[in-house]
Each structure stands twice: as structure tokens, then as C-alpha cells.
Homo-oligomer: 486 residues x 2
Amino acid sequence: MSKKENKDILKSEITELKGKLLALQQPLRAAKLPVIVLVEGWASAGKGSLIRELISDIDPRFFNVVSPKIEPEESRRYPALYPYALSIPENGQIIFYDSGWMEEAVRKYIHRDITKDEYKARIRTVNEFERQLRDGGYILVKLFLDIDRDEQARRMNALRDNYETEWRVTNEDMWQCKEYKLFRETYTEFMDKTDGAAKWHVLDGGDRRTAIRDAFKIIVSSIEEAIENGKYVGKPFEEDFPLKEMPLLKDVDLSPTIDDEEYKKELKKLQEKLKVLHNVVYRKRIPVVICYEGWDAAGKGGNIRRITKSLDPRGYDVKPIASPEPHELNRQYLWRFWNRLPRSGHIAIFDRTWYGRVMVERLEGFCSELDWKRAYNEINEFERQLTDWGAVVIKFWIHIDQDTQLARFTDRQNTPEKQWKLTDEDWRNREKWPQYEIAVNDMLQKTSTKNAPWHIIESNDKKYARIKTLKIVVDALEKACKNKKL
Amino acid sequence: MSKKENKDILKSEITELKGKLLALQQPLRAAKLPVIVLVEGWASAGKGSLIRELISDIDPRFFNVVSPKIEPEESRRYPALYPYALSIPENGQIIFYDSGWMEEAVRKYIHRDITKDEYKARIRTVNEFERQLRDGGYILVKLFLDIDRDEQARRMNALRDNYETEWRVTNEDMWQCKEYKLFRETYTEFMDKTDGAAKWHVLDGGDRRTAIRDAFKIIVSSIEEAIENGKYVGKPFEEDFPLKEMPLLKDVDLSPTIDDEEYKKELKKLQEKLKVLHNVVYRKRIPVVICYEGWDAAGKGGNIRRITKSLDPRGYDVKPIASPEPHELNRQYLWRFWNRLPRSGHIAIFDRTWYGRVMVERLEGFCSELDWKRAYNEINEFERQLTDWGAVVIKFWIHIDQDTQLARFTDRQNTPEKQWKLTDEDWRNREKWPQYEIAVNDMLQKTSTKNAPWHIIESNDKKYARIKTLKIVVDALEKACKNKKL
């Protein structure tokens, strides 16, 4: 077959595939499927031009092209995958990454911005991220645009020879050209180790039309398959996280109390310690995530206030978690928490958390059984990503018994200034106490990891509870501050 | 009265006021009122400590303390008030700014980071911003914490003498101490010129307790007043913006067409020009905002696609504007557009825009008459803030007649692949054509400012329309690129 014939065949194949992709737009939206196309590859391999072809016929309202910026200094202020986790598409939308988490990790590793261990952790994290996206219903297509050394050198020289284009060739690119062999080894290893939940597709960047045709084919067939098969429903992935042993709720002794004098003394002492520690946390840029879960009327609000009282208001935020809004429901369920993470050096206090997945969402059927069963492991992974980043993660279950709850509900009902605190939903939840108790026990057993353990706070006596949480926070921050240099 | 007595009186006044503020939390949330407390003042005047007192009893779920960072380089990538416009509170929430738009403007001016003219524009913008917030139902309390020169020097020296606190005194602070007189003049002038929709309150920072008591008094009375009086309902503010004369829709000649050959030739030529220009726009960091409004089925989507086809996908975004989500409805109506502004050098294409306020929201009663009547001026101000920042703002009204719309609706109804494009709402809107025509005429007459004029695009012939918009975009970008140096 002549070159001309071949070209004509490719052209007509591409036109046909473009039409198919166009026709898939509506079914994709109807099925509420989000699509991520990760385009990685060599500098000058033609990533931009490939993406331009891929999007040329799609309705511009339904896709976005992103290339999250990698600013070395700023990137350390958040967990490794933060910019990617934030930019995932909504249901029915397509996101094209013009290079992404692979390029960032590989460059940082080759530049020695991260250590070998950090790089290993990064690869593990990428696998977790991609699996969670797949399990969350995302279509993830990973392309690598390959060119050989000579071709890359030729293209870069051509760009540099032209006044209009020379600015496009960065020092980084030149350096990649020089270190081609090292980059090839590293890219190859990275792809080998992340060929899990989503497979890599290597495209021949030296042959533009074939690469375009192949990319279209892969995307179209991935979407067709997903529309036909629906959401991925494989067995939940489970890793053996090292766990702290937790008692069952029924075995927790709720009798501890504290007398008023002791309370005042301790409160003052601990709040002063915390105040000093907050300063160190800020200067050492330690991120802190404090999670509150507990029975209605257990005293979460007052407890949180005793913590915040000693904090510099510029350095913390309380994040009240209500039902998700539509734009939050349209994305993987952890997205809205990624979105609320503190910068390093800051403290985020979550009043209710991602554990809603395995409590209210489980009990009210807001997600499938598979969804909440998978969530234990997903949450353990998420929290490990936080502690890997250097965060102190402290989780409180504020615990009371049913009689105490009833007494507090009744008090709220009878006190005009407190009535707003009590809703019909609180009474409905109370009726489901036994089911909640099962869910909470499951949660405590499965997610009290060594790096982010649960603390059960006996709160029949609210004052006792406040002192206990303050002590735990102070201890954890003291330890973290000691371990981290300025 | 002895000092001791005075101290005791102040203490008890503060306790009483704290209680009042606490008791106002619920009414505030019930009335869905958002509160902004701007705390400005001298370095070392005690802003942080004042804020800490103010929030000490408020439920931490209902307030936030922010101090938007001023990074000189990054701040030029967005309009002047961008960080503040993004951080305004939701209804029922309180935001404390630990210094804000005053401090930023004054410092930049004294540092000569901005010119005298830019500073003047900044003051005008601040007045616009504050008035729009007030008119949008925000309670805005502005405090300035004042101390004299000796007191400031004394406090800074004390901080610097202590190992634990010396890091708190920045070079900037030292410099303010040195240039105290210049700062005092500039602060005073700024307050004089921004004492409009929200009044300044100068507090004596030299007397800590009095300052705290006064701050509480001002905040409590502002909230009480707002709860009692409800939203501000003064006469809409109107400025005489220089306007471009616009025809009435009924006088627009919709007959222009283009033949196929001419269309193809022009399309190719213009798209190539646009491609080159996009590169220059990117390198010269010109922000571009393209707005599409028009009748249903006027051909907006296809028109937008002809623009995006020639753009580098990394450098533009199409922002489809649907009905606002709850978190958007809970803030001033322009917030969701501030939130979607492009970085300088990028192009944002809005598929429907903030003009929804004076069209659908006006006609469907989603806002009050006063709200939409005020919006013309507010939008002119908003767009002037964009063009002041250097943005090219291009606004299209894609125009067709009723017969053409009917023909296109019928075609959509009869073509299976197009049916999703046609909704019941489209038919309902069509019935309101006469009312919409009045609203659109009002909009075109009142908001076609010289800096951000409307273009009516005759789109009975879609191809003619595409060429016309492309030409306008190319011309506008060419002009902007010529006027701006690298």
C-alpha cells in the first residue's frame, strides 16, 4: 500500500471515529459518566496537538483541558495528588490532562525533589487514586505518547530554530533530551508499576495520524464499554492496614466525670499549651486534621469550641459538613473533603466527616452496599495520604448513652434558645440507634489505623470529654512538633 | 472613677455584649444575613487579638477569619478585588478580614507597585464593591484600629526583644514604623474617600478594652439594625457610563447571508489569524472574556465551536452557565462569575452570563424588581473592573427571528440526535418572546458601555453569524495585542 493510500485510510478512519465520539456525548451524559483522559509522553511528542484533534468535534461545554501547574514550593503545602484530586470531572464531563501525575512524579524523582521512598509512596498513591476513580464510576484512559531520541532532538531543534516557537522549548525540555535514557527507564518503570485499575496505552508519536487514530479508538471503545457495562462492580479491594484495637461501644464505660475545680484548672493549663503549640505548628508548617463524629447531642459543638478558644483564628478553620450539594454529588465522594483540606501549617476541624459514607449514607441507602463496603479501605488510603504528607490526623467519636441523649433532647426542646439545635431528623436518627451502633462499631474496627487512630470520648460528662480531647490534641501536636525540624 | 473601677465596668460591658452577639447568631441565620467585619489598622495595633476576642463565644461553625494573601506577582493575574470577592461569606455566616482591601491598596500605593491612577481606580472600585455588598444584603462593618507613633514603636521593640515573638515583626512592619507619617496620611485619605455605603469606625488601639467594647457595640448594633430593617432598599445607584448606541431588536436587519465558498474561505483565514493571536494573548498575559447571550436555538453552541477550534486547548475554557446551585444562591449574585474568571493570558468563553439577572431572573421573578434594576449599573461596574484589569470583554447577542426559532425547534424535535437540545423550557420561553424582547432591549441600551460593548449578531444565517463573531474577536484581540507590550 502506498503512503498516500495509507494516509487516506487513516484520515477516513479518524473521521469515522470522531463521529462516533460525537455520537457518544449524549449517552455519556445520560449515563452520568465522567471521563478522564490522561495524556502523558515526551516533551515535543505532540501531546498538545493530539489533544487538539481529540477535542475538535466535542461540544466545548462538555470537556476541559487542564495541566495542573507544578510549583515545587507550593506543592509541598498539600498532599501529593491534591491538584489532580481537585480537578476531576463532574458526571457527564470529560477532562483531558495535558500531562499529569506521571510526569510530575517522574520529574520530581529525577530532579531529586523527592526521595526514593517518597517516589515509591507516590506510585502506590497513584494506584490508589486510579483504582478509587474507577470504582467510583470514572472512565480513566491513560495514553503515553512515545518518540525516540533522534526524533525528539530533531523536533526540539526545529522549534528552537524558529523565532516564533523557540520560547516553547524550556530548559527542562532540553535537559530531558540530554537525559533521554534515564527518562526512558523511569517512564517505563512507572508505567509497569501503575498498570493496574487503568491500563497504559503507548502510542507512536513518530507517526502522528496513527497516534490520533489509536487514541480515538481507545477512548471510543472505553466509553462504549462503560456505557454497556455500567459502573465497575468488582470485589472491594482490601489492604491489611495495621490497626489499633478498639472496644465495642457497648463495652465503653461512660461513668468517668471530672469535678469543676479540676476541670477549670486542667482546661486553663491545656489551652495555654495548645496556644503555644499552634504557633509551632504554624512555623513548622505541620498540617493538622481533627475529625469529630459522634451521637447527636453528644456535645461536639462545645467540645470544638474548647479547642478553638486557644487557637489563632488566622490559623484554623472549622468545616461543618452537611449533606452534599449537587456539584459535590456529581463527583467522587471524597472530592468535597479534598476540597476542604488545610494548607500545611493550618488546622482544619471537621464537624462530621467523610465517615458519613459508612454511617448515614450506608443506613439511608444514599450509596450502594458495594460503595460503603469499599469505603473503609478507601478512607484508610485517603488518611494515609494525609499522614504521608506529614499531617497529624486525629479522630474523635464523641460517645454518650441513649438516656443521656434523651435528657439532652428534652432539655433542648424545653429551652427556647436551644430549640433550633433539635430537628425532626434528630428524633428519626435516634430511632435508628441500634443500626447506627452496628455501623459505628464497624467503622471503629476497620478504620482505626495506627497512623490515624480513633479516640472514643466518654461524653456523658461533657467536661470530662473536653479535657480528654484537649489532652489528645496537645499530645499529638507535641509529638509532631518534636519530630519535625523548622 | 479609678482605673480599677473603669476596668470592671468595661469588663462587664464586654460580657454583656458578648452575650448579645451570641444571642444574635440564630436570628442572623434565620434572616439569612451574611456579615463581613473588616478589621484594618496599624501593624502591632492588636488586630489579631481584637478578632480573637470578637469570635471567642461565637459558634466556630458560623464564622471564618481570613487574611487573603497579597502575592504581588500573582495578584496581577486577576482583577484587584478578586481575592476579596471570592471570600465573601454565605448567608448566615460571618467573615472577619484580618486586614483586607484597604491595607493592600495603601501598601501597594506607598510601595509604588501601582500608579496614582491605579490607586484612584482602586478607591473607586472599593466603593463599588462595598455598595454592591450592602445592596446585596450584606452587613459590612469596617473597623480601623489606631495607635500613635510612640505606641507602635514601643510594641514592635517589645516583640523584637523576645525570642519567641521576634519573627512576627516583618521588614514591612519596621518600614511602616519608619514611614509612620506617610502611612497616617494615606490611611486617613483612604478612609475619607471610602466612607460611603459602609462607614468607618476608628477604634483606639492604645486602650485595648475600650477598643474591644466599642467593636462589639458596633457589630451588635449593625446586626440588630439589619435584622430589624431587612435588606437595604435605597434607590438604585446610577452612574453615567459612556454608552454605545444600540438599535432596538425589531430594527435589526436579519437578512444578511454568506455563500458557502466565501464562508469557507473566510472561516479558514480568520481561524488561522485567531490561532496566532491566541499565542500572543498568552505571552502578553491579556485576559479575555467572551460572553454569549441569545435566543434559544440561535446557534450559540456552533458559533462557540468555530472560535474554540482555533484556540490552544490549554489556554481557554468554556463556562456553561446553568441555574445557580445552593451555595451560589447563598452569596451575592456576581460571586459565581468572579469564581469563573480566567487568569490573565487565558480566554474564558461564557455560554450565558451574569446578564441572566436582567433577563430570566427578571422575568421569572427570581429576584426583586429593585435587584434587577440595580443590576445594570452593577454589571457595568463589574465589567469596568475587568477592563481596568486589562481584560478584553466581548459580548454577543446572537439574534434570530421567531420564525427561524420555530423552524429550528421543529427540526430538533424531528431529528432524534438533536432532541436532547430541545426542552419544555425552551417552548415556555418562546411563549414569553415579547417580554424577553423588552428585557433584552433594556439590557442592550443600558449596558453597552464603550469599554465592553454589545455586538448584535444576525444569526438567521448561522454561517454569516460565525464569520461576524470571529471577525469581532480577531479585531479586538489584534487591537489589544498591539496596545500591550511583552
